[in-house]
């Protein structure tokens, strides 16, 4: 009896003890800062203080939502994230399909494909910045070698090209992640399906759309959502390469928030913008969780 009582007590308390430290960390490092940030967003606070002395107001949200710069930042964020996802997924699928085949040197090619993922963001930003330089960069030098090109864009100092240039860098950095997951996804598609479809006379294009893509559906959903979430918060490339310029062409929401906080000392409106970004991220995360749950149900 005593042994049973002892085991019962352990069953009741052990999970709480094991989970306790993690819950405390989540409370201190996630919930509390979120709540504190929300409070700051409802005050006139200029500094990143505790905000307990400031009265509450919705002025920041009204100001942020009526500011054209905010909507420009939202638009830039959407284009940057969407472009990153589209480019990474397309390139990722193509690379995964190639790497799924047997060929000589496949191991080396796999390493080269994954390499951008291993390069630190800061290093990548500085190197690409120089590659894009209109006077000294290797990119324009290479383009001018082509016979049909006699003028090259100014890339990072051209408002029409700057965002595209940064999206390309982000695609270069993130497509290896897509390759890894999609390659793993391809392994789960049975070869029998391809053999059967080949017997039925389906060509490669038909097999891709009828077998490969449906088979990668869930992996693709996860890749798309993770890349979207990460791109929303991507600060390093934009800040290091253009700081939101030229003329606001690359001024994504995270960069805009940075300037509001650290340059203009407007913590209240910066946190209001942060809340906006948080809402966008929560919506995406919710979709991600729903997909994960549907996977578990299946």
């Amino acid at each position: 009896m005593r042994l049973v009582d002892h085991a019962d007590r352990q069953d009741r308390w052990l999970p709480a003890i094991m989970l306790g430290p993690v819950l405390v960390c989540i409370l201190l490092l996630v919930i509390a800062p979120l709540a504190w940030g929300l409070r700051i967003s409802l005050t006139d606070s200029r500094m990143i203080g505790l905000g307990f002395k400031d009265g509450l107001t919705f002025k920041n949200y009204l100001s942020v939502l009526s500011d054209p710069d905010t909507w420009n930042a939202v638009w830039v964020t959407i284009v940057f994230s969407g472009g990153t996802v589209l480019g990474s997924v397309l390139l990722g699928i193509a690379a995964a399909l190639v790497l799924d085949r047997e060929f000589w040197g496949r191991g080396i090619v796999r390493v080269l494909v994954i390499l951008p993922w291993a390069v630190p963001h800061v290093v990548a930003a500085l190197v690409w910045q120089w590659m894009y330089n209109p006077d000294f960069g290797v990119l324009n030098y290479g383009l001018l070698l082509l016979p049909w090109i006699d003028a090259t864009p100014k890339w990072l100092s051209d408002p029409d090209y700057a965002l595209l240039a940064i999206v390309l860098v982000n695609v270069w950095k993130t497509y290896p992640f897509a390759v890894l997951l999609l390659l793993a996804g391809l392994q789960t598609i049975s070869d029998d399906l391809y053999e059967a479809s080949a017997i039925d006379g389906a060509g490669p294009v038909r097999r891709f759309f009828d077998i490969t893509l449906p088979g990668l559906r869930r992996v693709l959903a996860i890749v798309v959502l993770l890349l979207l979430i990460w791109s929303f918060g991507n600060f390093v490339f934009i800040f290091l390469m253009t700081q939101g310029g030229p003329a606001g062409a690359t001024n994504a929401l995270v960069v805009h928030i940075y300037f509001e906080t650290f340059r203009f000392f407007r913590a209240g409106s910066a946190f209001a913008m942060g809340s906006l970004l948080l809402v966008m991220s929560i919506i995406l995360t919710s979709i991600y969780i729903m997909i994960l749950r549907s996977q578990e149900d299946d």
Binding site: L14, L156, Q243, G245, A247, F264
Partner: protein, 424 residues
Amino acid sequence: MLPSLRNLKAAVVAALVTASMAIVPASSANADDITLRLPSWWFGEPGNEVWMNSVIEAFMAENPGIKVDGYNLPYGSYADQMLMEMSSGTPPDVIHLTNLNMGDYLRNDLLLPLDEYLSNSDISEETFTPAQFAAPIVTDGQTYGVIHMVANYIPFYNADLLAAAGYEEFPDNPADFMEMAKALSSPPDSFGYAAMVKPGSYVETYMDVAQWVIAGGGSFARDGKPTINDPANVEAIADFKALFDAGVMPRDVDKSTYRQMWWQGKVAVLFDGSWMMGFARQENPDITSKLQTALMPWPGHLTASAFQIWSVPRGAPNPEAAFKLIEFMQSAEQQVEMVSITNTVSPRFGSLPEGYLDNNPWFNSFQEASDKYAVSIMPEGLEAYGNEILKIIADKIEEILYRDASIEDSLNEAQAEVEALISS
């Protein structure tokens, strides 16, 4: 087999005890010693770091109970770090500001008035530059800093490159200067002039364009009222854009890169400060004999001036000792050393070392500009709005340079935005 509950409890208690020991502060060797914290980007700049280290050493030798922990904090991340430290209640003892961002700190009441300490010092209108007694350093009748260095931006040029293109003298009017800059340009091998036209660097872009505006007799504000769309400003920015469109300036390079290009002989002219000679001496001594200076090539030679300032943050642990350090650094003897080592202009009168101008004839233009032609680079009377105004103006300049926006329309929009800002 699961660990017993008793063992688990013991493990948790042991962990808590260990963790609590980690937060017990270590006792210092001597409880009476003060350690002053002084972050500055000067510790990371050639020439300037030599003076900083020597003045700190001299101060500590004279003040045995005070240690100074001076360390490099690059200019690019300085404001971020200071904001975080001040927000968390752990500011350094001495903070390094400029007249471009001092207003932001004042608006947020982050700086300690120093009048109580200044009254016992020799810093006065007889010994210091007039800017020490004007906004933003003096705001609402109180003094919030001590000018540490005066930065005048004048032409610093490679005389050999000019001579090779047929220019024995530096031009004395803007049209000739622009023609010369074009003649000296052969991108990507050489450029006639360099300025901060890299997108997104709004403070530096503002500073470089403001040099043209001020030299041309324009101003972004007068007596606290914005004059951004002043016709003189339009003309100056039109000239700047013409040079930009002519491909005279290296594009998409930051200031440290084009300065490097200058002391490597790839850029003929910069409008920059006297410290550049110190940089050139350290990085490429062979070029220093070719470097000369001139006054701004506009009638009146008006010269944009910025100031670097030592201040004491509110909540600084040792304000009295902090001011003692500032006072020492700005003393007559140390200022002579500073000029000698860093080649910068001191705010204290009579700080030129003996024979300095004979040995450094290029410095004459800086001294003359400082004495006769200096105009604050910040919009007059609007220093309190600091970075916000600079961003508004720089954003419009980027639209002018990169989107070919109308100069008049862009400056009108900037005027309206600044008026709305200061009235809000």
